[in-house]
């Protein structure tokens, strides 16, 4: 920072300098934001406030410089990076795929503390500024030009006298230097003429009732989306409003104070921890593997199979999609096609790109193509006999080095591998539905899976764009197991007379993005019943709770969840409103139990959450999980455990293992062993110095 100040001084004081251009030395990145580590060290509100104030002061110097400063942006321009660019007098950005402008602080539970909440609404229209600051979403250069966020864009250059990227960077500099010179001489006048709508809006903002409307609406939307569980968006809104209403001095002051306050919140710490975890799970901890994967074969073109093919086909893999019937294959192909059509519609790719991508998809009904496969991922129906049949058939065709991966949510990989001639090549790859949207991939290794196989499968998952956790084989692996524990409790709540809508509200209010009843419908009640049955048999009474017969009754009545149109709710096509399925409620009534102990919503929530968390800790204790970090990532990215907590392990650290165990003891008195805390959790409860994260 002192270095920046030095340069600024020099620009100001050296009479031979007429103007300045701010440009990065690396083509892929302008400035990717401030150093989070620095922020983590902050213990108090004051410390963090000072960081913000210092940043604001330096950027004010840039803004107030009498000599024009041009920001030349190529690559990521995020957070503090964009705030630096905003302080400059003119912005030029390269229209390539890597260049993105954003203020993603909100995703870390923070606010843009370098003047972002003040300069953004001044530069672009207020609603757009709020959108950027509240969602943190990436803005591409051409969209940024339309918004008025940048003043000029340049097209990336191809190869010429040198490499395209290098030359583009050089060209950007040439254009920026020329613009700076023209700004200094007055040849180039900055014209940020706004459209009529923006002008009217700006005028209307002079009236308090208009402001109340706009900010009120925004606040409503935030509350609806976050349930008020995240302090950052509200604080951002407050800072923007202060700036708009009371002017820059009060605005900047509110911003730095808000930044300081947010930086020490547990939500911020949780989200930052998640960010680190995500970065960590984007790396392959198993190192390099022998055979490069070029051809991915997917067996079964159902929802999952087609989804897996979808996320592979645009990553440079040749993808073979195999099914047993033309009808099934056609359905899968059309799922993939419409996925890319949507991307074309949103201008993420061109129609031409889509065509070229889809050339890599080879749909087939025969096993012959598998001769060139480097990895086979099967996504056939969840039936051990079928999986055995498939593995035996496939092994007649695939080459020696080819990996066999099973996409299953509960069947033990060790059992599946029993049918294989080469169990060291067998691995589990548990994708989440819908595959193209859910970030998590849970990879499951057996005792016999070789390290090379694991490394290759992880590499494949990472290339598919997934956040990858690698766990040991066991009933329900990690994610299915902890979810099943929670759902068992949710079903018990239904039996206790909590209706599906209330159950949804309970879980959503706690911070889960999807309500418990809706989640059951999405997963499929037949699947839930199957898993509950299987895990109940394996783990015994501990996995009890809801009566498994109630689920079976629902299934036999055809209430399978969303896929059959009826589950806890009734799903109608082209209708967003969902009514409670009264017939299902009648079944719940049939299995009615009287609630025992407290029926306060907090306790009902904690009954579900404590079982979820306890099971997660037990997975660590049993060595299913390699680290709390992977446990947190799996729970948040795969199951939607409230992100602001940072995951179940962070949650325990913050909530207090002792408090949690005490609560579980209380529930245990009413409900029995289901609430038996595992040894590791008890150890943490006994010794408060024991934490999952240091």
């Amino acid at each position: 920072m002192s270095e920046v100040q030095g340069v600024l001084q020099k620009i100001e004081n050296d009479p031979s300098v007429q103007a300045a251009v701010l440009i990065s030395g690396k083509p892929g990145c302008f400035i990717a934001g401030a150093d989070i580590k620095m922020l983590e060290k902050c213990k108090t509100v004051e410390e963090a406030t000072t960081i913000s104030k210092n940043g604001q002061r330096i950027l004010a110097q840039v803004e107030n410089s009498k000599k024009p400063v041009v920001a030349a942006i190529m690559g990521s321009c995020l957070g503090g990076g964009l705030e630096v660019a905003l302080a400059c007098h003119y912005r030029i950005a390269v229209k390539d795929k890597k260049t993105a402008l954003a203020v993603p602080e909100v995703m870390l539970g923070l606010l843009p503390g370098g003047g972002g909440t003040q300069r953004l609404p001044n530069l672009i229209s207020l609603p757009k500024a709020m959108d950027m600051a509240l969602t943190g979403r990436n803005i591409r250069a051409d969209a940024a030009k339309k918004l008025g966020l940048v003043d000029r864009t340049i097209e990336p250059l191809g190869v010429g006298i040198k490499d395209g990227n290098e030359r583009t960077m050089e060209y950007l500099e040439e254009v920026a230097v020329n613009a700076a010179r023209q700004l200094a001489t007055g040849e180039l006048k900055i014209n940020r003429e706004k459209g009529l709508v923006d002008k009217v809006l700006k005028f209307a903002l002079n009236y308090e009732f208009v402001r109340n409307q706009i900010f009120g609406k925004a606040k409503q939307a935030i509350m609806k989306q976050t349930g008020g569980l995240y302090p950052a968006p509200l604080k951002i809104l407050e800072c923007i409003r202060t700036g708009v209403e009371k002017g820059p001095v009060a605005g900047y002051d509110a911003e730095s104070r808000g930044f300081g306050e947010l930086a020490v919140t547990p939500e911020c710490k949780g989200l930052i921890s998640l960010f680190y975890g995500q970065t960590e799970c984007k790396k392959n901890r198993f190192g390099a593997h022998q055979h490069p994967i070029k051809t991915v074969a997917v067996l079964g073109a159902g929802l999952m199979g087609a989804g897996i093919a979808h996320v592979s086909v645009d990553k440079g893999y040749h993808v073979i999609l195999k099914d047993t019937s033309q009808a099934g294959l056609g359905r899968g192909q059309s799922q993939i096609q419409s996925g890319f059509d949507r991307m074309v519609k949103r201008r993420r790719i061109s129609a031409f790109d889509r065509d070229v991508i889809l050339n890599n998809l080879e749909p087939t009904l025969s096993y012959d193509g598998l001769r060139k496969a480097d990895i086979v991922i099967e996504a056939v129906f969840e039936d051990i006999n079928l999986k055995h049949k498939v593995i035996k058939e496939v092994e007649q065709y695939i080459p020696e080095h080819c990996i066999f991966a099973s996409n299953t949510s509960a069947l033990p990989i060790t059992d599946i591998a029993k049918a294989s001639k080469r169990p060291e090549k067998v691995i589990g790859m548990h994708y989440f539905s819908p595959v193209d949207k859910m970030q998590l991939l849970e990879i499951i290794t057996t005792d016999k899976t070789s390290k090379d196989t694991t490394a290759a499968a992880v590499a494949c998952g990472l290339k598919q764009g997934k956040v990858v956790i690698t766990v040991k084989d066991g009933p329900g692996f990690y994610t299915t197991r902890i979810l099943a524990a929670m759902l068992a409790e949710a079903i018990r709540l239904l039996q206790e007379g909590v209706d599906p809508k209330t159950l949804d509200t309970l879980t959503k209010k706690y911070g889960f993005p999807v309500g418990g009843a809706t989640l059951s419908d999405e997963v499929g009640l037949d699947v839930a019943a199957h898993i509950a049955d299987y895990l109940g048999k394996t783990f015994g009474e501990r996995f009890g709770g809801g009566d498994p017969n109630m689920l079976k009754d629902m299934v036999s009545n055809g209430f399978l969840g969303r896929k059959s149109g009826k589950g806890c709710f009734i799903y109608e096509k082209n209708s967003k409103s969902r009514e409670i399925n009264t017939d299902a409620v009648a079944i719940m009534q049939k299995y009615k139990q009287e609630p025992r102990g407290s029926t306060a919503p907090e306790d009902q929530q904690l009954r579900m959450v404590s079982r979820f968390v306890n099971e997660a800790v037990m997975c660590l204790q049993e060595g299913i999980l390699a680290s709390p970090l992977e446990g947190d990532i799996g729970a948040v990215f795969g199951l939607g455990f409230p992100p602001f907590t940072g995951g179940p392990f962070r949650f325990v650290d913050r909530f207090g293992a002792d408090k949690l165990v005490a609560k579980m003891e209380e529930y245990k008195q009413h409900y029995g062993v289901a609430f038996d805390a595992c040894q590791l959790l008890k150890d943490h409860a006994k010794d408060s110095s024991k934490k999952f994260y240091k």
């Binding site: 097209e155 191809g158 190869v159 010429g160 006298i161 030359r167 254009v175 613009a179 061109s350 031409f352």
Partner: protein, 474 residues
Amino acid sequence: MASFAARGFLKVPAGIKLPLSNHGARCIATTAPQLAQTKKTVQDKTGKNVVLVDAVRTPFLLSGTSYSKLMPHDLARASLLGLLRKTGIPKEEIDYVIYGTVIQEVKTSNIAREACLSAGFSDKTPAHTVTMACISSNQAITTGIGMIAAGAYDVIVAGGVEFMSDVPIRHSRKMRSLLLRASKAKTMGQRLSLLSTIRPDFFAPELPAVAEFSTNETMGHSADRLAAAFKVSRQEQDDYAMRSHQLAHRAQENGHLTDIVPFQVPGVAETVTKDNGIRISTPQQMAKLKPAFVKPHGTITAANASFLTDGASACLLMTEAKAKALGLKPKAYLRDFVYVSQDPKDQLLLGPTYATPKVLEKAGLTVKDIDVWEVHEAFAGQICANLKAMDSDWFATTQMGRKEKVGLPDINKWNLWGGSLSIGHPFAATGVRLAIHTAHRLIKEDGQFGLVTACAAGGQGVGMIIERYPGATV
């Protein structure tokens, strides 16, 4: 004199300074002694010694000027008729006609046939239309060579036409779909219900764009990026464009453009006798223009880019034996050709760089053996970029898989009668003009080998080797 040429040669890589004073007369003096020393021959690959007997073209006019009320086949007809009259070949002798066009007039989708019929060619002469963007008439010529080589025919007419004064502007897809359904509607009720589905956006028309289908980028935009990628300055481009106009103007004044056949526009007394896009402006005028595609920092302007042009051309090809039998005096041998294609995004207009070494190697020649270069000028920046690419070892090794650079052509032998920037560029008619200008210049400048090369939309290109026919006259 030789030293002057050498100096001009050396200057080029630094900033394309183009000596204008060095024209025909000088070239004779410099190249004649060399010819005597290194007389090369190119082997005939067809066994037929395909010759270019002659070629003609209508004057090339800026679109929207005197031709604006015509239809494309009117221009094509004029060139075909002009060829018949100029060569005096009996129309029955013509075995087949191949004609190029880029922007199709839907009424005359096989314009080759329509133009032949209206030009009074024998209705027993088959004809087909080819398209390959700016190298469509090159494609017409080489398709003809292929037919002769295959022994299918002996006498071929090849050419091309482009008419940008009127282009097919379509109804929107929604409207088209509605109209198609309306034609099937049987009852008044059905028609009315269709009518009720019309929305304002149905009326938005679809214009044809000179844009790549695959990348959606207009050619001017791509050319501007190409110029920037090769660090071609605005000044270099304006200088090159100025040279093109000055040389074309001089060729016009000196009466070199004898390939033109005058055109009589129906209902207009004044005959169109010359190209109307050649204009000599001052450097100041050129420098004043704003960029046309990349704004505000681009370098391509209206003055250093080729303009939309109307025009048609036609040429007569046959076996040498047939020419002798008919008593015709050919102008050149069509010795060899090659097509290339590359990345349509970043190397859209680098066809000449890729085609030149390939066709030279095929023919067993080197850059130094070429006495006449006729290169399609899409944009001044594109020409400068190609020259820099040919002169770059880095580009040759990393992009073309060559051991060394292509080598810089002698700029004193390059487009000495102007080019597409000044003469104009009716897309599908240019190839024939390049071929006949090469043949004529070989005669006037006393050279042996000429090289035609051009870039085309889609990231394609062509290279052709043309050899002067012994004893040929213009």
